[in-house]
Amino acid sequence: MTPDLIYGLTGIAVFAIGLVGALCAQDRLRRVLALKLCSVGAGFVLVVAAWRTPPADPDPVPHALVITGIVVMISATAVALALIRRLQTLEAEDDDG
């Protein structure tokens, strides 16, 4: 049981949970949350790929990739949330007549 095995499987599990959530959740906000879980799961796998048994330093390239991924994810999340806010406002207007 080494950390890379434990956290690698954790990452895959988190990705799977996110995937199920993104496909099956009905609340819009929760779907965004589920996609975010997917990205964290992918981050786990990449960070594990960079890991080397302690005295050795980890591989910096996947680390840089994950940081890039985090920033891209927040951009996507921000746009998705803005769309949700807009959509909800339009629907509320329709309901109010």
């Binding site: 954790t10 591989d59 910096p60 390239v61 891209v72 921000a78 807009r86 909800q88």
Partner: protein, 326 residues
Amino acid sequence: MTDAATLFDLLLAGSVIALAIASLTVRDMFAAIVLFVIFGLLSALAWVRLSAPDVALAEAAIGTGVTGALLLKTLHHLRYVTGKLGEGQARDLTPIATVPAGVIWANAAFCGMITLGLALAFLGAPQAGPGFDSLVAEAMPASGVDHPVTAVLLNFRAYDTLMEVVVLLAAVIAVWQIERGLSDAPAPALGEVWQGFARLTLPAIVVVGTYLLWKGSEAPGGAFQGGAVLAAVGLLLLLSRIYVPRPAHRGLARWAFVLGTGAFAGVALLVSGGGRVAFEYPAQHAYSLILLIEGLVTISIAVTLAALFHGREPVAAPAPEGRNDT
């Protein structure tokens, strides 16, 4: 000792998975977001265990902190629009159409197959295959900085980072357009305790965020982590209405948005020529150039993240009834 560490790893991994499930299944949306934030922080902790402090910092600051703030802001807006602002719990905010159980089961089976495939691929992958470690270690002396992750981000793989800043720019343009003319949910009023807190901490956050940026050249930290911390100052100023964006500020904001991209691309083009390609910094100036780019990119990231939080473009407020465009 190894056993204690393994036990810790197992506990942490279990908590991360449990929190991921809980944040998708708990009914109260506010609780879901809070659980997600805890999930993000524990993931960051796990990444520290995997000796990836840079990634952990970025995840904690951007992936969890700023994302959590965005989610809560959206939740507040949804509650306002649906007239459920005063309620203790946030349930059923977006209209829910029931999906047939068969579809859900088919989806779940599909996800299960993908997961199985991923797990098999992960377990079958060669242990500690050749990475880029040796290449990076070889090139480090020429990079101009002492921290490998920063060297990769701003030198070896600078194109990726440039595109990342462009994505951020695209996001803020999209958000400004999507929410054009949307009315704002009333801000929760914060009293004198909050003001005292802001007076004490905001100046210190500015200094600490800049310190993270500066430290990035030799230790974990850098433009994204520092920028996110600085963005927190903007978030707090916006939340407490100490700063209210006005139409007149748009020009300045636009300059701040493109500053990072512009500086990054500008430096890349300026150093090219004379036998060098773009991003091939002259060795004696590499350190200064990287710090210059990082400094300007940080300003852009901070302003952009704060703008993403604020949402709609601050256009001149129309008359209250004029907004009714249905």
